[in-house]
Symmetry: C2
């Protein structure tokens, strides 16, 4: 395999899975050409005149879709760790003797460890998509035949839109659907809220199968997935495990350390003048992020401030802010709990979004740049604010990119991170895997101080007289190293097991096989 060093100084293969790659050229450095992909022209002459696309089984739908060796099969991850569908799809493929498939999920979860035997026996050649937990370990150990490709949510949309990846068959689990294929995620026992991650699949896949466990008469309202994009509809008993799809209660962290990070983050935003009337924010559904939201809420209530919108995954905390009038609109990318599902179904100001609206870098703009402040995580950060979100410092690929890269285009990007985890420092000379260029990352909040990217002179100026514990990256790193000792790099083999794409489809970094400890 030949390698090339890209603009970020990272060594990447010249081709991946037999196809040439475009090396990362810097933020905004790559200018795409050509036209978006258009799926094959279909005709109503080939679809049931009465619109009834029901077939008897998922197997029949796969057969009619022409499932065969080497195809690309996609699924969405709105059922999270409660997904029963993706596993069934590959059980059937295996049963049918199909081999060499590319699985193109919007994300994978520990429940998909079920697929490891199919990666081993050649049913699945490779996964392109996040490989959390067990699948990531499998890949890191060099056991997957093909090379993994990690894309952000926006990058996945971009890859489909631009024809970089063609899905042969999209299998879309739909908590509610009609026989024409109109579908939403709002009702039924597998209700998961928004189905936004399946939008690109429904638009760009050659064949689209809707699988539902809650069939309604036409028209299924609202139709987040348009039946006009759908080939077959299958009724099954159960799409997923409701308890694992949405949690009954999302929970704010109780860890004093993480609460401190959250509080410092909120105080920073306040001091920097970010929390003001009409502002907007995005923070995740993790315990720390939820806590940041609650501190925002306190500040907003105290000062009588109202946000124009919050973006990101919805949960009961954001719903309560919407319902209390602290936020005008909730722009929802994925719905994390039952309160989120209820609100999305009921409240016209709680609006679903998709990677197309929010993240696609090859659109005519996207929502990311309109968000005033975004709170993200990271596994490692270096002195230039470059960050890693997919591998741990031991080299294991344990997380997906999600919307993380896409959110870096927000006006202010803050990473609240502990200085060390399990006595392993988070601040590094060099991140194991580069996922986000430091020029887009503005602030690091740690329990021992806050570092502002020198590029953000405005933020430095705005907070210079605050009581915040402002430090340089170097000071923070020295402190961590004093406590933990100077960290070692991971032990990696030469073999590239996966690559990390940038939001524009170029290759930002490689993930190498972790050295066997034998």
């Amino acid at each position: 395999m030949n390698y090339v060093t890209n603009k970020a100084g990272r060594k990447i293969p010249e081709e991946i899975n037999g196809e040439p790659v475009i090396p990362y050229m810097g933020v905004g450095g790559y200018r795409p050409s050509g036209n978006r992909y258009g799926p094959p022209v279909s005709s109503c002459r080939d679809y049931p005149p009465d619109g009834n696309k029901l077939v008897d089984s998922l197997r029949e739908a796969l057969e009619r879709s022409g499932l065969r060796d080497g195809m690309t099969i996609s699924t969405h991850h709105h059922f999270r760790n409660g997904d029963l569908l993706a596993n069934q799809v590959f059980d059937l493929a295996h049963e049918m003797g199909v081999r060499g498939l590319r699985w193109f999920p919007s994300a994978s979860f520990p429940c998909h460890a079920h697929l490891i035997p199919y990666l081993e026996d050649g049913t699945i050649e490779r996964i392109e998509g996040s490989m959390n937990g067990p699948l990531g370990k499998f890949v890191s150990e060099g056991k997957m035949k093909g090379t993994g490709v990690l894309r952000s949510h926006g990058g996945r949309y971009q890859a489909l839109q631009d024809g970089e990846v063609n899905i042969d068959i999209a299998v879309i689990g739909a908590p509610t659907a009609d026989p024409f294929g109109n579908a939403n995620g709002l009702y039924g026992s597998s209700a998961c809220g928004s189905l936004g991650f399946a939008l690109a699949d429904s638009r760009y896949a050659d064949k689209v199968i809707i699988v539902t466990d809650h069939q309604v008469d036409f028209p299924c309202i609202p139709w987040q997935i348009h039946g006009n994009d759908v080939d077959y509809v299958v009724k099954v008993d159960k799409l997923g495990d409701p308890a694992q799809i949405v949690s009954g209660t999302t929970r704010i962290t109780r860890s004093p350390d993480r609460l401190l990070l959250a509080e410092l983050t909120a105080r920073f935003c306040d001091a920097a003048g970010i929390i003001k009337n009409g502002f907007s924010f995005q923070s995740g559904a993790g315990g720390t992020s939820l806590a940041v939201g609650e501190y925002f809420k306190q500040i907003m209530k105290e000062k009588g401030i109202r946000a124009r919108f919050a973006r990101g995954g919805s949960n009961r905390y954001l719903v309560s802010m919407l319902e209390e009038g602290l936020i005008d609109y909730l722009l929802d990318g994925q719905t994390f709990d039952l309160e989120g599902v209820r609100s999305l179904a009921e409240n016209p100001n709680h609006v679903w979004t998709s990677p197309f609206t929010s993240y696609n870098y090859h659109g005519k703009g996207n929502f990311a740049g309109l968000v005033d402040v975004v709170i993200l995580g990271a596994t490692e950060v270096d002195m230039q604010f470059n960050a890693n979100v997919v591998t741990h410092s031991d080299g294991y690929l344990l997380h997906g990119i999600g919307g993380w890269q896409n959110c870096l285009f927000s006006k202010t990007v803050i990473l609240p991170i502990p200085l060390f985890r399990d006595r392993i420092p988070v601040l590094r000379e060099r991140v194991t895997t580069l996922c986000g260029p430091g020029e887009l990352i503005d602030v690091i909040v740690t329990e021992r101080g806050i570092a502002i990217n020198p590029l953000r002179e405005d933020l430095i100026e705005a907070t210079k007289n605050s009581a915040l514990p402002l430090k340089t990256m170097e000071e923070l790193k020295a402190e961590a190293d004093r406590i933990c000792g100077k960290p070692y790099g991971p032990l990696l083999d030469d073999r590239v097991v996966a690559v990390v794409k940038w939001v524009d489809g170029t290759v930002l970094d490689s993930v190498n096989q972790v050295q066997s400890t034998l």
Copy 2:
């Protein structure tokens, strides 16, 4: 010019405007190949990082979009006869000295007679789209340089989707929009309800300009047009004349003749067993169609029947049925009055549709086939139930196709038509222009009797013992001819001034120049 005779027996040119055509091959006879069109890949690098796409004027937006000779410019017709925008676009083009444009409206109205001087001086080379009233007369008299192309609403979507027509610049009037380009038609002084006819333009045009007279902060909710498809946003004082955009009151016909047609139509549907629980219907916003709806309402109330959905243009009559619980869902293609606009904004069961959902023949099905009964008009019908909807019997092109052709795929198609208009019989040996194949048209309702298409043995059987005045087409025609005398055909020249496309993009018929009466 060379001609060919298509499957419908109609003589059509082998090429139109320099491009070869595909002759009509019968209903479902043409199998398309190739892929859908994808517009050029864009990149966020070329759009404002903060999402603010406002430019100072429509002229600036047109200049930045690269307006030049020979381009295709599209507009939508949701402002109907109150549209001020399309005229402004071509005023500017004329001012800028641009020539040879193709105007690709979703429909044109009498207010667009303003553009006749630009058709004369070469600013506009041709119109592809309906040419109602004065523009139709202009074309019929052979005064337009290029050949007109008439498409149904669904055919227009198909042509864009399949890349048969590429829009260079779409100018989309939006009653409400934010600076990112998200837009809807629900609020503001130019509120027009749904913007569904602009959907294809926003998706497939190379450059998309949103023009609004009611700017709101991001996010404009709901976003029927996605800002992610938009290049520039322009704020103007006034998009249209509100009184001409939506009527304060749509009105049921008071003509006793037309009321009789409406009553007979409703009675036929009742006798045929079409009006039953869970049924669906579509009827237009013309006086007779509205009256059919009111008769339906009476029957439904008497019998305690509830419809699953009504499709088509919305108006206060349909809104009242929705609000009274007689219809579960109103699937709205265009919003005809203020009550329709109010309901669409307020009621989650009043849902906008688009030519993509409802009419596109090159989709994976569309809604038309799911509608139990559709009530349409016609200018002429022949003995095989073939019908004309664009020209009058004198040959003048005075109407667009609208959704008419698309609706023919509904389960039962009924044309309530007078036997004669101004002593000119509507039933003919041969229709002047063929717009709809008779095999798709089921019933003709006239004031002197009802004729059922012999292909519909089920309807003949269902109504044979009814008290309805059932007759054959031949009987009805003989009656009309007895009263009016045998009709003459129109006096037409050889020159083809426009063609009528079928829903699949093939050419169904030609429209010839009307002979000068000099």
